[in-house]
């Protein structure tokens, strides 16, 4: 394999990436998406490489998506969930990671509820670290799969109006998306009740409003976020009913967006809280399942590029 175009050994977030790196990942993912359409879904690009999936926090989509990507690339995988391991016996995070590193994995894919854990491990381990979500900080692979989905539907980012609506305060998805979309020159507007809008988020180069109609006006992309009731959402609004009345995406509200606007959601959805089922299931508007499919392609691309692969070489090797 030849020298890849990513500067870091790790993928800790979107913040440190430059636009050309993002484009490289998206292009590589686009070329790899085809693997999933084959009858035999396997290429040897990461044969003999080992990936440890280290999930300290519940995850369905992200964990399965990484695992699928790893398997399609022929990597060996180890899955770690905090339950049923030495973590329950009080082993520290660093000791756990160092012990796993002693088994010579090539990658650690880590999900943790505390921001900065991937950075903490990356600075102490030689293994490549991929952030699969750290608290409310970043979720870079989600933002990349979102960008891939937007590019497929809209063909560009420049000047695109993206409204991101919901629990901004507790969302790592929104932070990675802000970095990603603003680096690609899209115009991002955030919308949430003031209780779910973190302070000074304007400093990240986005528009902010608590008026859902205003946010939807002329939007090309409407990204709905899950209201994270388990993370203190309860103090932020009195009831799901009142939340849905003001911030729930309905067909009527969606008319304010551009007629060809797409609706996205990183999942898992709370139907009837932030999004109505009729929109979520509308194949003309909702791209939610494309997001999931693209997730595998993006994760294959990242694993492959971080392993040192050159953008197109995986096909030749195959």
């Amino acid at each position: 394999m030849t020298k890849a175009g990513l500067r870091s050994k790790d993928l800790l977030g979107i913040e440190p990436l430059d636009p050309s790196e993002i484009e490289l990942i998206l292009d590589t993912a686009e070329s790899m998406a085809e693997i999933g359409k084959r009858e035999i879904k396997k290429v040897p690009a990461l044969r003999g490489r080992m990936v440890v999936n280290l999930f300290f926090e519940a995850s369905t989509r992200t964990r399965f998506s990484f695992e699928t990507a790893e398997k399609w690339l022929s990597a060996d995988t180890l899955n770690f969930a905090a339950k049923g391991t030495s973590v329950e016996k009080g082993e520290s995070l660093l000791d756990t990671a160092k012990n796993l590193e002693a088994m010579s994995p090539d990658f650690l894919v880590i999900r943790h509820s505390s921001p900065g854990v991937p950075h903490f491990l990356a600075s102490r381990l030689k293994t490549r670290v991929i952030n699969a979500g750290d608290g409310a900080h970043e979720h870079p692979t989600q933002a990349l799969l979102d960008a891939m989905t937007i590019r497929q539907r809209k063909g560009k980012f420049d000047g695109l109006k993206v409204a991101i609506v919901g629990d901004i305060a507790h969302s790592r998805v929104v932070r990675s998306n802000i970095w990603c979309l603003t680096k690609l020159n899209a115009k991002v507007t955030l919308c949430a009740p003031p209780t779910l809008m973190p302070v000074d988020i304007e400093s990240m180069g986005v528009g902010v409003t608590s008026d859902f109609e205003e946010a939807l006006d002329g939007a090309d992309v409407v990204m709905m976020l899950r209201v994270q009731i388990e993370r203190g959402g309860k103090m932020a609004f009195p009831s799901s009913r009142e939340y849905f009345a003001r911030y729930g995406l309905t067909r009527e509200r969606l008319r304010l967006a551009r007629p060809d606007a797409i609706v996205m959601h990183p999942g898992p959805m709370n139907r009837g809280v932030e999004i109505s089922s009729e929109i979520a299931d509308d194949a003309d508007r909702s791209v939610i399942l494309s997001q999931v499919a693209n997730g595998v392609a993006v994760r294959m691309a990242i694993l492959y590029l971080l392993a040192g692969g050159s953008p197109q070489a995986w096909q030749e090797k195959a």
Binding site: E15, S92, L94, H112, S114, G116, R172, D200, I201, S203
Partner: protein, 433 residues
Amino acid sequence: MAGEGVTRLLFRGGRIVDPAAGREGVADLLVEEGRIARIAPGIDARDVEIVDAAGMIVFPGFIDLHVHLREPGFEYKESILSGAQAAAAGGFTAVCAMPNTDPVNDHRTVTRWIADRAHEAGFARVYPIGATTKGMRGEELAEFGEMKEAGAVAVSDDGRWVANGTVMRRALEYASLFDLPVATHAEDETLSGRGAMNEGGVSTRLGLSAQPAEAESVAVARDIALCALAKGRLHVCHVSTARSVALVREAKARGVRVTCEATPHHLLLTDEEVARSGFSTDTKMNPPLRARRDVEALVEGLVDGTIDAVATDHAPHHLDEKAVDYESAPFGVIGLETAVSLFHARFVSTGRVSLSRMAELFSSGPARAFSLPGGTLADGAAADVTLFDPGAEWEADPRAFRSRARNSPFAGMRASGAVAATYVSGREIYRRS
């Protein structure tokens, strides 16, 4: 306290900076039997041990109002001996030890034990601070009178705000009987939620749990109001917000007996440091590093006299305790061995603060805030002296720290100016090699 120097000692040719005595200029300083005997140019040098102080600054020994020595109970983090050695190496001749030990220093037996251990250690003087309430639980007052007799110089439930207003009022009232200051860690926990960092653009970007500046300011405002009501004596620990500084300034103007301290980390670093360091847990302390505008307000308070003292809030933790994720890490950073060089380089060398104001902030100011002896080189005072070499090249090197801990946010920083030697009652307790 520390043993008396038996010989006659002459500090020759240094710049004496002693604002409490209204003195600043190059002179010789003669110490006899551990006390300041005379300051004058060209003192006769026969039968004396000479300390060459040419090119150096001779300060009244520095006093740190706020340290955690961790003993008894947490000797794996720090001990009275290692803490007092760290203090000496940092130029401090006296430190005030917070009561959050195990057992809590809420009783004269603990107070006396700490004072005795410090005396045996024989480095910097250690003045115990007693707990405001029994067990620092914020419910019943501790025995201020007995703790004072045993050596306590102030009371504080440091780290825990006395949330019950009536308890705090009674503490201020009762402490006034003994003229003891009540030192407050001002933090309304219903607002702060013990957030890991300051709430602002940086915490938003990093997604960390955060506490707003108002969690401190609200608590400072209440404590000042209660101090006025109780006609007590309040000391606000580690002010870190612009609003807190303004509240203290306004209270002083009204004649309320309030003093306050600021830490080197709050004066030198902003919350951007959390991001810049890549989530280093050595940037996590409480109160947290604040916004640029807060730091600027703190510096104004240094210059205009609102801030009475620079105190380190030296809070040692074991390496393993800090080698965890940011949210889980304990609050606190060490500061004894970096405060003086960093402060001098940032504020004195740049002309923001004069040498005499630095002496007020490190010596006479803290002495006055807690009514401690020292803080001056006046005739007859104990010869507690900090010798500072403004030309020395200095680097914050955690491996060389006397402290048992390494949790400094300043590791690797360089400065011009270093503590050359430290004396307690004329006895050398530190000399830079």
